[in-house]
Symmetry: C2
Subunit: 261 residues, 2 copies
Amino acid sequence: MSAGPSTVIKALTLLDYFNPSRTAIGLSEFAKLSGYNKATALRFLTALESKGFLEQDIETRIYKLGPAFLRFSQLRETSFPLAEAVKVVLRDLNASTGETALASVIAGENLATIDVVESRKLNRVTLEQGAALPFHATASGLAYLAFATDDIIEGALSRELTSHAGKTITDQRKIADRLDAVRATGVAHTDGSFEEDVMGVAAPYFGPSGKVCGSVAIGFPAVRGTPDHMTAFEEDVKRAAMRLTGLRGGYYPDDFPEWAL
Amino acid sequence: MSAGPSTVIKALTLLDYFNPSRTAIGLSEFAKLSGYNKATALRFLTALESKGFLEQDIETRIYKLGPAFLRFSQLRETSFPLAEAVKVVLRDLNASTGETALASVIAGENLATIDVVESRKLNRVTLEQGAALPFHATASGLAYLAFATDDIIEGALSRELTSHAGKTITDQRKIADRLDAVRATGVAHTDGSFEEDVMGVAAPYFGPSGKVCGSVAIGFPAVRGTPDHMTAFEEDVKRAAMRLTGLRGGYYPDDFPEWAL
DNA sequence: GGCAATCGTTTCATTTATTGAACCGATGGA
DNA sequence: TCCATCGGTTCAATAAATGAAACGATTGCC
């Protein structure tokens, strides 16, 4: 059962080691993180750099994400403006709930935050843009997974299920149950599974062929997760996801709980 | 003297076939454009798709640029906000000149438009965002090349120098002369070399290690290229490039004509 | 100031993934 | 109905990826 270890995939995987708190990486660090041989890593890095996907500081020899992303995201947006639609939807979701709103999208094996509109409350949830969201510990991740294909679910859960907080669910069976619940209602909840005293509510949005693309969510301090708030939150989040689905030209899949819309 | 044709580079090169007027490409078209075997192209495409760099419409099987660019450009911007700085600079350049302002950045072997602020005049130059700029026929290209390393210059000029308009310079020696002029003054001009009756003025901007990153430019109808306009335009463009260099945390290289600043 | 660790980089024999012609079934237009 | 073209698959031949070791240059530590 050889998965076909394409060289291209290996090279592109190096980019996944960037995150909001690690924006610059050197050769040796790449080699250590990826487990590749230093020579191999170097060849990948120079290849990526030559196409503008990385940028090497000529003095420190350290690598950063390159200008190609500027170029291609620009290009993608002209033909397929998602970023703008996301911004609008999140602003409204933030306005109606008063909480921090975020949207995520699946890119490869990662669910990545693509935009955040923060709450203006003093006690609020602050998120890093561009961060990867663990599938099993966030509402966004659960909302996405619930409507993903079986092999994606399996792939996501077969990784190590890190415990991020006291209430993180690390049992694969329990997560499967949670996903069933999400499928039934169309929304996902978390309560202290990503960070202590932080709750999340999320709903998936879909693409043109009924394929789930990512999720829309809010995050808020657990103290504000009172029952009456929650029902309002759920409605708002679902509406936001529906709207984004529409703006994206997407369709809900057949197995989506219609009554939940 | 085998150049070592890395598979990774070949795969990433496929992405270069996207442009503002071709935002979706099928397998066979990729194979034809790139000259790769269909099987090879397919393997590259699925690899790119699996990492989110491409997105395949499940019905038409056609490929588009994927969501990974959203993710990584977001990530790049949080640590290194260029897009915003560019927007500000271009708006001011547009305000002071009244003409269409654009910024470009080198990504791999291409000089790509990353942002455009259009003139509000009726008779104006309209540009497509994300388009690749030919080095030899645009002011942006000449401004960049003039301060690039010798091997980049050679690489850029060794490609076929397509004639885009009546006055396009396709003679390599003449272009070298133009580059000398640009080095002396710090600004590049074009007059009808990219499109008839369109003029351009451009200046390079630099990165943290004194390396040229791209250029800032304006494009305008040739009728407005009167001598007094031109001197003002040059000053405005140079100032804009200087500002962008500063915002980017860049430095001018030692061989930059200081009196030109 | 000198020693040691670590950095990025190069080399080269070994291995393994990449390559491409031919083939397949599906789709769609003439 | 036929033919062209689409996306995708197969498999032997081949060419490219690999990794241990070594190199020189910094860097940091005693």
